[in-house]
């Protein structure tokens, strides 16, 4: 401390100090001061400096009070507890609960533009919780209440309005007419406001204590800094120079918290009353004036930082009255220039709008599951998961809604619906995809869900106020919805917005198996994205960075949650726990990621997620030996990594944030570079692998990405805005959304060291070939091969295999039943067939490689080089296809299909239904939309039959002819006839013809029956060869399921109702004969039908006609038999029929 005091008050050229800090060389003048400890002190100097400043300011900072009017307000004790105290102004461990006050001016904008909306903040609508003090400038209607809305009695704040937008998040307004109008209006009042500002300034330089009863509470209750009261100017200048040097050279451990502290000094407010009561230790920074001066000067010098910060922060700086006073040049000239130089042109485009996880055949279809049941169960799991997510989305903002009550059962049952690794893995994948989807959807903080209406307006201007209003309306303080899990204490396990669902899902599921799979999924996701090549455009890059952060956050959560504790761990327990975990393995090898990133120039991609992951670490973890190396690497990166300015700012601010975490082992930060270098290993050994694009020097990072990755940065703005706001108000509750850092992630296991394999000469030739070509050549070749092979495999899967399987299934029918194991031998043959066809598919795919590669490879490639590429790509393609075949085309692939088919055959249900759209051998039908729709035809037939039976409607011969042609049209020229419909039409047409034969025999022409039978023959051919066995039925129940039933009891009952039985019977006999002639009905069938008939009692007349009919059949059959060329298959039935007939005739005689 003395050293720094000496330095500051001495006259050693600061230049020498800078050199010493930079490279370690000690100038003569400095030697005395440093004595012999130059090296020891060098690395801890910045920390000493910070500690010095903190000490110097401590006494005055203790008096800080952000509410200058506090004395005048009747604040409840409870509320007072919420007020920030000096303890919140920590130097090295910023609390994440920064106040969010950044939106004062927008509120005002609303009022100006749409006065009718004013009542939102009016006393009547939202009466203030506290007595408010009226001020001179405030219109009567205005209230000053504890919310942050401000309105601006006090002129100091007014310039904030000017021409600027300072919303708390990146998307800026300023492009619509609305805002322009507003800016103009601000413009006009500017002069007036300036005048007021002067007046005000005058007023406040003489602090007065107004008494409590005063009705004119306009007086400031805090000391306003004045440049003329600043003492020890030169010492302050030197201190400031030292400080800004350390800050801009990344010598201090946490850039973030030091700037935070400087801003706190800038807005320091001390009540003169307190100042009088307190005895201040004499020091360099013992007055508000000095503090503000020091802070302003230092901030001014940090130019390299401000260009990466969001515009709204700069706006706040620019309009800060104290800076206006102390650094007029900076605020009036440089800052405006800087702001205008930051363009919004290449902002990250709007986030994705698709909210669901797309189903991808590659990863999600049946082939990705081991069994049908696994596949079916996952289908349910997917839907239930989506359902749970939707339920959460709809309900989570409803107060009193409790996720664990509403969803726990559902979540638990869905996660463990099938305890199977495949299902867990798929679920983990789905979880991760949905999480990433949502993370990309995360809206900038002040965009909310109500676009229209007064609330929507407020939403876009002051979301925080809206939130508080809502809270107040719906949610008395006692009944704030309890979080499903997690206590106030484990702030670090805090997840924002939609991510809460995913955290709570994990906790509610409480499934170790799922957690394990999720970890794996996250680790592999991080690995994939970390080596991602598509980082060329900003949007893509930002997406990747954020996705990585989210995955790392959840990995960190899964890994560290079991070790979290809300309590401060006593030392002995701490040691005990660390002993237990001494050899614990991390799920991801951070060191190798960091090293890799360092050498490959990809730190800007990797550091954000590594920091997020580590932020979730518990105190014990960070002290484990495994982490020691990780942290050293990070410190080294912090000090030494060279990146493009914005990239560097991003990773330094993140690392600084990590270093400032309370559980970070501070001693590490004072380690000399050399020690860290040992940890890092020998730099020269680094293998340069230029496969991946180097990112660290590219311009990929902009301020919006920085703020997205480091939400804690908003606290700078909040501090400034809060100052601006509270200037204008007497007091207010400042509880606001705290920005949290999103803890991220995990690392992957290091890729296993490649065993030195013996490579063939060809292989090494190829390796060298690619090595000496641009890396894109290799990538292109591999990519083309990969895609082609994948296409061939797809072809094999979806075309070749189904076709061959279908063919084999058909073969199965004709397979000699004597064969031992038809399935086995067919499978073998199928394998061979598939392999052959796949090989030829691959060959034809390879034919296209040359043209593809020519189009994709660099134009200036020599033709021979291109030829080599083509041949390598061909080889690769073929190899990949072969690999796939080896792995997948096995007997078991077909076994299932064939066995099922065999089982079907065994059940003898193989009678094909013609007209079935799936029948593969069906000729391609061209759809004829002029034919009648099947449903229409069914309806028509049904109505016709009903009318003939019940109403005796006439059906003419012509009607039947028309119907026949309609049926033919429908069944033969349409593509929308299903098997069931076809079958139904078969039944209905037969019924109709039979019924017309019975009830209106006069309508049956000579050719009618023949024509219909011919139609049926053509449309419903019976399958020869495969005789269907009747299913086992109760005795006497069923004979045959065939449609063509002529002589069954029902049909005879119909015949009995005929008014001209002779004609009817003639037609029916003809019908039966025709059916037999065409092979639709077998002799055996008639036999069985007839037997069934005679089991029942019938009128004698009917039996007589029946006997005649049967005799005709027998006669016909006999004739057939005598024909020499008749097939012999039915001859054996002869005896049965004859004996039956004689028996029957005997009955007839009775």
């Amino acid at each position: 401390m003395a050293l720094i005091l000496d330095l500051v008050s001495g006259d050693i050229a600061l230049f020498h100090v800078f050199t010493w800090l930079d490279i370690g060389s000690v100038h003569q003048d400095l030697k005395e001061l440093l004595k012999d400890e130059s090296e020891n002190i060098r690395y801890s100097f910045p920390q000493l400096l910070i500690a010095f400043i903190k000490e110097q300011t401590s006494s005055i900072v203790k008096l800080h009070n952000i509410h200058p009017y506090e004395l005048h307000t009747v604040a409840s004790p409870k509320r007072e507890n919420l007020l920030p105290t000096v303890n919140n102004l920590s130097l090295s461990s910023p609390s994440p609960n920064f106040k969010n006050n950044g939106s004062c001016q927008e509120t005002r904008k609303i009022r100006k533009i749409t006065p009718q909306r004013l009542d939102l903040s009016s006393d009547s609508a939202f009466p203030s919780l506290q007595q408010s003090a009226q001020t001179r400038e405030i219109p009567k209607k205005r209230r000053i209440n504890p919310t942050q809305l401000i309105e601006s009695p006090v002129t100091t704040r007014v310039p904030l309005q000017f021409g600027s937008c300072s919303r708390p998040s990146p998307p800026a307004l300023g492009h619509n007419a609305f805002n322009q109008a507003q800016e103009q209006s601000c413009h006009k009042s500017l002069d007036q406001e300036r005048a007021l500002l002067k007046e005000k300034k005058h007023q406040i330089t003489i602090p007065t204590i107004s008494d409590l009863g005063s009705t004119a509470p306009k007086n400031w209750m805090c000391v306003e800094p004045d440049i003329s009261f600043v003492t020890k100017l030169s010492q302050l200048d030197r201190l400031s120079a030292l400080c800004s040097f350390c800050l801009s050279r990344n010598l201090v451990p946490s850039l973030f918290s030091e700037i935070q502290f400087l801003i706190q000094l800038l807005v320091l407010r001390v009540s003169p009353a307190k100042l009088k009561q307190t005895h201040l230790v004499q020091s360099l920074l013992d007055s508000v004036h000095n503090c503000v001066y020091f802070s302003a000067k230092t901030l001014e010098h940090l130019e390299g930082i401000w260009c990466h910060v969001d515009q709204s922060v700069l706006q706040q700086l620019m309009h800060n009255p104290r800076l206006l006073l102390f650094c007029p040049e900076w605020t009036n000239d440089k800052l405006p220039k800087l702001i205008s130089s930051i363009t919004n042109v290449d902002r990250i485009p709007p986030h994705k709008t698709v909210a669901n996880v797309a189903f991808q055949t590659e990863t999600d279809n049946r082939f990705n599951f081991a069994s049908d049941s696994s596949f079916q169960v996952f289908r349910k799991q997917r839907d239930q998961f989506c359902e749970a997510w939707q339920i959460w989305k709809v309900n989570s903002s409803i107060p009193g809604w409790n996720m664990s009550i509403a969803l726990q059962k559902m979540i638990q049952s869905l996660v463990d619906l099938r305890r199977d690794c495949v299902n867990y893995a798929h679920l983990a994948r789905l979880f991760r995809s949905q999480l990433l989807n949502v993370a990309q959807l995360v809206k900038p903080i002040n965009e909310l869900e109500e676009p229209d209406g007064p609330l929507g307006q407020l939403q876009s201007s002051d979301p925080d106020k809206l939130r508080r209003l809502r809270d107040r309306l719906t949610n008395p303080p006692e009944s704030r919805p309890a979080r499903c899990v997690g206590t106030e204490n484990d702030i670090k396990m805090h997840f924002e917005g939609d991510q809460e669902f995913f955290r709570d899902f994990i906790l509610l599921a409480a499934s170790p198996a799922f957690n394990e799979h999720l970890k794996n999924s996250l680790v592999s996701g991080i690995e994939d994205l970390s080596s991602s090549e598509d980082c060329d455009d900003r949007a893509q890059f930002a997406e990747t960075v954020i996705a990585l952060q989210v995955m790392a956050k959840f990995l960190g959560f899964l890994h560290f949650y079991p070790h979290a504790s809300a309590d401060h761990l006593p030392e002995h327990i701490f040691h005990h726990l660390s002993r237990l975990r001494i050899s614990q393995r991390e799920p991801i090898d951070l060191v190798s990621y960091i090293k890799d990133a360092f050498y490959k120039g990809r730190l800007v991609l990797v550091i954000p997620w590594v920091v997020t992951y580590l932020t979730l670490a518990d105190p014990v973890s960070l002290c484990l030996p495994g982490f020691h190396s990780v942290l050293c690497h990070l410190i080294f990166v912090y000090r030494k990594a060279e990146l493009a300015p914005a990239n560097a700012f991003l990773i330094r601010i993140l690392l600084g944030w990590l270093f400032s975490q309370s559980n970070f082992p501070l001693p590490l930060l004072a380690k000399p570079d050399d020690d860290l270098l040992i940890e890092f290993g020998n730099l020269s050994l680094a293998t340069t692998d230029d496969q991946l694009p180097r990112l660290d020097q590219s311009r990929l990072v902009d301020s919006s990405l920085i703020h997205q990755c480091c939400p804690f940065l908003w606290s700078w703005k909040h501090l400034l805005a809060e100052f601006a706001c509270s200037d204008a108000k007497n007091s207010g509750e400042k509880a606001s959304v705290s920005r949290k850092i999103t803890p991220v992630s995990a690392e992957e296991n290091p890729s296993p060291v490649k065993a030195p394999a013996v490579k063939s000469l060809q292989k090494s030739l190829e390796e060298n070939f690619f090595h000496n070509q641009p890396s894109s050549v290799k990538r292109t070749v591999e990519f083309v091969a990969e895609r082609l092979a994948s296409n061939v495999v797809r072809d094999v899967r979806h075309q070749i295999i189904p076709r061959l399987v279908l063919h084999a299934q058909a073969t199965l029918k004709t397979w000699p039943s004597t064969a031992k194991d038809p399935v086995e031998s067919l499978c073998l043959q199928l394998c061979a067939d598939v392999r052959n066809e796949a090989a030829s598919a691959a060959t034809s795919a390879i034919a296209s490689i040359e043209s593809t590669l020519t189009a994709l490879l660099p134009n200036d490639l020599l033709p021979p080089v291109r030829r080599v590429c083509v041949s390598i790509a061909s080889k690769l393609t073929q190899g990949k296809v072969l690999d796939w075949i080896q792995l997948h085309v096995t007997k078991s692939l077909f076994k299932n299909d064939l066995e099922v088919e065999l089982a079907k055959l065994d059940k003898s249900c193989a009678r094909r239904v013609p007209g079935s759209p799936t029948a593969s051998d069906k000729p391609q039908v061209v759809h004829d939309p002029t034919t009648q729709a099947p449903s229409f035809l069914i309806d028509r037939l049904k109505t016709l039959i009903r009318q003939v039976i019940r109403d005796a409607s006439k059906v003419s011969e012509q009607d039947l002819i028309d119907l026949l042609s309609n049926c033919e049209g429908t069944l033969h020229r349409r593509v929308d006839v299903t098997p069931i419909v076809s079958k139904c039409l078969q039944q209905l047409t037969f019924d109709l013809l039979f019924i017309v034969c019975v009830f209106q025999p006069e309508s049956i022409g000579s050719q009618t029956i023949i024509a219909w039978v011919a139609f049926w023959c053509k449309t419903y051919p019976s399958v020869d060869g495969v005789e269907t066995e009747e299913p086992v039925q109760p005795p006497g129940a069923l004979i045959s399921t065939c449609v063509w039933q002529v002589l069954t009891p029902k049909q005879l009952l119909l015949l009995a109702q005929s008014t001209s039985p002779r004609e009817s019977w003639n037609h029916v006999t003809t019908l039966l004969l025709q059916l037999m002639k065409s092979g639709l009905v077998r002799y055996k069938d008639v036999q069985e039908q007839a037997i069934a008939v005679v089991r029942q009692e019938w009128p004698q007349e009917l039996l007589g006609r029946f006997a005649t009919c049967v005799r005709d059949i027998v006669d016909w059959h006999r004739n057939q038999k005598s024909e020499p060329n008749l097939s012999t298959s039915e001859s054996c039935d002869d005896d049965g029929l004859l004996s039956w007939l004689s028996w029957f005739c005997a009955q007839d005689d009775l």
């Binding site: 669901n356 989506c386 049904k942 019940r950 929308d976 069931i980 139904c984």
Partner: protein
């Protein structure tokens, strides 16, 4: 003829429906609501009937009631009543003719231990009544099937056919509009776990909304029907493919889309004519 009903019209239609006798309700409704399409009315009547049966089928087919109905039936046969015994019984008890016939057949073919016969047997007999050994039951059943538009193999085939016809029709319309898509069979072959009728390989926009899939429903979309489909199908499609479109060819009740909240699934009664295709010019 209108196919899209607002809630008020739909409610008054249901009201009138309840008051009408079972037979010929479509014709009566036509007179009351001349502005509505006949197909829509048929569909609503059929769905109302199905809803009613869903509610009362179990109660009306307990073994006791079936036994009583069977007794009644056999008695009527013995008494030589006019054909149409089951139809009259159906009106009396409130079961649709085909459902009644099915119960009677089940009773007729009951096993020795009085348990129900195999389902396959019963459905085979229903499909081909000529196979029923009892001639009167066979004929009576046949009459029932001819009379029933909601149940029984003929009605089922009609319904199934209608669904498929519209699916095919939709495919053809899409082809005419040069929209490229995969249909159910393709998707099943590719191993999708959920298969909408149409999955658009290149999305199109309808009324400013992008859709990725289309489901065809040849019926009338009321809230109950729609909720059922949302649960079993539409949300599943949304979960996998994003926003989509469902077509209720016979109309629907307005404002059903509100049910979806933030999940966008459009509802129409025909394929929209104003589809915007993706710009494919270079």
């Amino acid at each position: 003829m209108a196919r899209v009903l607002n809630q008020t019209t739909y409610n008054s239609l249901l009201d009138s429906l309840c008051k009408l006798p079972f037979r010929n309700r479509v014709q009566s409704l036509q007179k009351l609501f001349p502005e509505l399409s006949v197909d829509t009315l048929k569909c609503i009547v059929a769905q109302e009937c199905q809803k009613r049966m869903k509610g009362s089928h179990g109660r009306l087919t307990t073994s006791e009631t079936v036994e009583a109905m069977y007794k009644k039936f056999t008695n009527s046969i013995l008494m030589n009543e006019e054909p149409g015994i089951l139809l009259r019984l159906s009106d009396e008890v409130g079961l649709t003719p085909a459902l009644l016939a099915r119960s009677i057949i089940e009773r007729h073919y009951q096993r020795d231990d009085k348990s129900k016969p195999a389902k396959l047997l019963v459905s085979t007999l229903m499909k081909n009544t000529a196979l029923i050994d009892d001639r009167d039951l066979a004929f009576e059943t046949y009459l029932c099937l001819l009379e029933d538009d909601e149940y029984g193999p003929i009605a089922e085939a009609t319904k199934q056919s209608r669904g498929y016809e519209y699916e095919i029709y939709l495919r053809m319309e899409l082809e005419n509009c040069k929209v490229s898509f995969l249909h159910e069979d393709h998707l099943r072959m590719k191993g999708y776990d959920k298969t909408p009728d149409i999955k658009l390989e290149i999305p199109v926009a309808v009324d400013g909304q992008v859709i990725n899939w289309i489901e065809s429903k040849a019926l009338f979309g009321d809230e109950e029907v729609h909720r059922g489909y949302l649960k079993d199908q539409l949300y599943s499609y949304w979960n996998r493919f994003g926003p989509g479109l469902v077509i209720y060819w016979f109309g629907y009740v307005e404002d059903l889309e509100k049910i979806h909240q933030n999940r966008i699934i459009l509802i129409r009664d025909a394929l929209p004519r104003n589809m915007v295709l993706m710009d494919q010019h270079l």
